[in-house]
Structures are given as structure tokens and as C-alpha cells.
Amino acid sequence: MIAQEQKPMEEILGYLEGKQKVVVMGCGGCATFYHTGDKKAVNEMAEKLEKEGKEVLTKIVMPLGMQACETEKCSIFLQKNRSAVENCDAIMVMSCGDGVQVVTEYTDEEMGIAKEVYPVNDPLGLVGGGPTKFKETCQSCGMCELGKTAGVCPLTSCGKGLMNGPCGGVREGDKCEIDPDKDCAWVKIYKRMEKLGKLDAFEQMNDPHEWSKMKRPRLFELEKPMGMMDMMGAMMNLNTISGYMSMMFAKPPAEEEEAKKE
């Protein structure tokens, strides 16, 4: 998932200086998950913009599973709102940068409508964890090193991205030199290797990372796209259903903490 947060309102309004008519568009992917592009967020943004005197021509809400970053899905919603898109001064997209760029490219190149498309959110990276606390653990570098580092990515989790650490700046409590709230990834790697009985490997040099695997922009092609039937099949599976049921009845983290105390 791509974590994201909304930009400060001043920055959003800065983009809209001298512009009056806007389209506010959400995203049914990660942005819905992080409350930065779901129906509620779209409505709230539209309200704020109206309060600032802007005219919201339409609000495009994409339901869960309908991501702005997928051209096929995104296009359905843009085509449906073609006249608003044509008449607006700017499209405010409440998604990560991928969504914003798919909207830009599709409206410009496929619909033939060149409009200002502005980001409402700041993307914060690929994160894992949850339900409320997440951390960036992978940067999609194109050459996974986890097999050499006991399952902890030093390129992402070490503040300096060192393939050979720790650096000399480890703080009290095995915290990072740059930010005392973060754990030192290399101490974590050491502890994992210790548990796995492979400390000998800790003393061996890791080669420099092969950044040639990350020539931007990276292009990627699937032989067969995921169709609706594949999606249904993936969802209507017994394990999936039992997984959703467990999540449904799971206590929220705060309640769980309380229950533990009792």
C-alpha cells in the first residue's frame, strides 16, 4: 500500500489561485484505505474549496477496488464526467502521484482535454504494518536484498541505506542516528542473525547494491491482465472469506489493549 497524507490547505489553495471551477476526484485504492481519497475525504475537500469561494463542478468518488492509478478503471469515471472535466479550470486528485499522473495522461492524451491536474496528497511510501501504525519497509528497488540481510531491508530501514552497517551513530536503545524514534536496522539485522544462528554471515561484506535494476521510469508488462472473473475468484475463496470474517470480529487495537489490561 502507498501511504499518504493530505497536503496543507494553503498549498492546495496556492495551486488554485486565479482558478474558479474545480473537479475533485478521489481514489478507491490506497487513498481510500488511508482516508485521503474516500467518499468522506472527497466531500470534505469539496466543502473546504467551496468555503474558499471555489465552484466544485463535480465530485468523483471511486469505490473501493477502483483505483485512480489504473487507466481502465479511472477512465470510466473520467468519461462519465466529461463535461465537468471540459469545463473546469483544474482537477484536484486525491490519490498518490500515480493516480494524479494517470488522470493527467488520460485526460490529455485520450480525452484530448488539457487541464491543470493537481495533487491533493503527499505520498509517503510503500508501507507495511497497521491497523493504525505503518512503516516504510520496501522501496521497490528492483533487486531484493532481503535474502542477505535476514529479512530486514537496510536500503529502506537504515536511515543511510547502508548495505554494510551499522554506522557509528547508533544511539542508546539501538536507535537511529538520524531519528531517535526509529530503530537501527543493522542492530535488528544483527539480532535476527543471532537468533538464526548465522552471525558468521554478519561479518561478511555485502556487495554494493545494483542500482542498475532501478532505471527510471521502470516499465512493466503483464502477459495477461487481471480480469473481473479473476478478481471474483480471488475474493470468493473460502480462506478469503474466513479472513474477512476474522477481521470483521477483531477488536480495534485500543479495545484489545483494554481487554489485555482487564
Binding site: 541505506g161 547502508l162 557509528g168 561478511q204
Partner: protein, 306 residues
């Protein structure tokens, strides 16, 4: 590994001499006049001087340019400090070749502080290589005449590479594991971060065990209370003893400049004499005196080791 000796620093290690090195800090200026003056004062007292590379991630005069100029104008042998924070592997390779071309004989390979800690926090941190892979690259260049990709280097540079160790690291075992990695990568000597506590040093040597790689222990006799306080507060892995800090703080009250100097020297000589006496019983091959801008303290401290 080659047995060639290219520098006076390495010669002293090989001859088993007790080695003393100093430190010079180029600043944010269009010249290196001050470090040149300091280098002149240190001639004969130390075999070589480290020339810092953007210390604490404050952007200063290029350490390579400063090393060359200091070496050329004073005859002081320089240890060119080289950080991975600000250069990718191509730039590092170019600078190492440049160092060889300019007659630099020693490089201290460092990862470097993160750029966010210095005066240019919006810079993009590089860290394409780390201290270990930089050591590996330099050894490959010098010994095999090849770059990381195996491409031939005509007339390879003739220089030595050292690395750093942090005895006061919060997780000593992980730190020592990394130091071992540097040793495996071919580091030719090690220089420790500043240490004030003898037991911290002893624990480090015990954890590291026997090694043929000579180790210089870093000490920092502070010229002012502010310097000592900075190390205590802001330099990770360095704790300054409260007694020493208090004695240094007391010198702030002395109004007469000369008397103040005398008292600062007295505090340092008293504290470091005990430290250096202890050092005699450790495997240390020498002492790196990180006394930037405080050359007058070197001679009396050196005397302790005679």
C-alpha cells in the same frame, strides 16, 4: 594484500612505532589558510594529519583540495577523509584517482554523518557505497589496478586506506561485527571514534579480539568547555565524563586569557595523562589526537607515552 608502503603513516605502523596523528578541519571559506597554519605547528609532533570531509555534514572546502594544498605547502602528510554521504561510486572512484594523482598517500574511508544533521539538510543523501565497500573498492584499485566493475586502471593510485570504529556504540557486538567486515574487506588500519572512558575502550578491544590491523585510539582534548559539551550532547556514541566536563566548565569563569589557557591545559593534561597511561596496556598502535585548533596540547600529551 600488498606489503607495499606508500606513506610515512604506514611506515611507522610497520616499524612498530607508537603512532601519533592529528586533525585539521577545512572550513566554509575560499581558502585553507587556517589549517595550513595549524599543520605547520603540528609538524614533527604527528606523523600525519586527517583532513576532515564535511564533518557533521557541514559543507566545507573539499577535503581533497585541502589535503593537497596542506601537504604541498607545509610538508605535513595528510590523511584524506572521504565520506560516502555526498558521492556515488563513480565520484568516489574519481576522487580516489584524483588523490593518487595529487600525491595523497592515505585515505580514511567513512560512511559519514547523514546530511540531515548538518547545515544543508535538504540535500539528497547518497550512500551509494558504505565505508566497507569503499575500503573494498580502494583496495581493489590499489592492489589489482581495477575498479569495482573489473575495468583496468592505468597506473593505479599508490595509497593506503583506513577505516573507523566506534567503541562507544550503543550495540557493541553489532559494531564489532561491522569492524570485522572492514578487516575482511582489507582495511589497513583503524581509527576509533573519540573515547573518554577507559572501560569503554577495554570492552571494545576485548570484543574485537586479536587482529593484525593497527588501531589508533581517538582522543579529544577540548580547547573550550563548549567543544567538550558539544561532543557530549551531539556526537553519537561519545560520552564525556561529568568530572572532566565540570573542570572544563569552571575554566569559563577565568577572565585572564593566559591563566584560562593554562587552566584548560592543566585539566586536559591531568585527565589525558591517566587515559594515556591506561592506553599503554592496551593493543592500541597509537593515538589520533583530534585536537582541532589546539596544537599546543599535543607535545605534553605525547610526552606521557615516551
Amino acid at each position: 594484500m600488498t606489503d607495499e608502503v606508500y606513506s610515512d603513516l604506514m611506515r611507522e605502523f610497520k616499524e612498530g612505532k607508537y603512532v601519533f596523528t592529528g586533525e585539521l578541519e577545512p572550513e566554509k571559506a575560499g581558502n585553507v589558510n587556517e589549517p595550513i597554519e595549524m599543520a605547520k605547528e603540528l609538524l614533527g609532533l604527528v606523523v600525519a594529519c586527517n583532513v576532515t570531509d564535511n564533518p557533521q555534514s557541514f559543507a566545507y572546502v573539499s577535503s581533497l583540495a585541502a589535503s593537497y594544498k596542506i601537504q604541498k605547502e607545509t610538508g605535513m602528510e595528510c590523511v584524506y577523509q572521504l565520506r560516502c554521504s555526498d558521492r556515488n561510486r563513480m565520484a568516489l572512484l574519481s576522487d580516489v584517482l584524483g588523490a593518487g594523482t595529487l600525491g595523497i598517500k592515505n585515505i580514511l574511508a567513512l560512511a559519514g554523518d547523514h546530511v540531515s544533521l548538518g547545515d544543508t539538510p535538504d540535500a539528497k543523501p547518497v550512500f551509494d557505497l558504505d565505508s566497507t565497500t569503499l575500503i573494498h573498492m580502494i583496495r581493489k584499485m590499489v592492489d589489482e589496478g581495477k575498479d569495482l566493475g573489473g575495468n583496468e586502471i592505468a597506473d593505479p593510485p599508490k595509497l593506503h586506506v583506513g577505516g573507523a570504529a566506534a567503541p562507544g556504540a550503543a550495540h557493541l557486538k553489532a559494531e564489532v561485527g561491522k569492524v570485522q567486515r572492514k578487516i575482511n574487506a582489507g582495511v589497513e588500519y583503524l581509527q576509533t571514534q573519540v573515547v573518554y572512558y577507559t572501560d569503554v575502550l577495554d570492552k571494545f578491544f576485548n570484543e574485537l579480539g586479536e587482529t593484525d590491523v593497527p588501531i589508533l585510539v581517538g582522543i579529544f582534548p577540548a580547547r573550550t568547555f563548549g567543544q567538550a559539551d558539544f561532543f557530549d550532547k551531539y556526537v553519537a556514541g561519545v560520552d564525556v565524563p561529568p568530572d572532566y566536563l565540570e573542570s572544563m566548565r569552571a575554566t569559563k569563569q577565568i577572565k585572564d586569557k593566559e591563566k584560562k589557557k593554562e587552566e584548560v591545559d592543566r585539566v586536559n593534561i591531568e585527565f589525558f595523562t591517566k587515559f594515556l597511561e591506561h592506553l599503554k596496556g592496551t593493543p592500541a598502535a597509537g593515538c589520533h589526537m583530534m585536537a582541532v585548533g589546539y596544537p599546543r596540547i599535543i607535545a605534553p600529551l605525547k610526552k606521557v607515552m615516551e
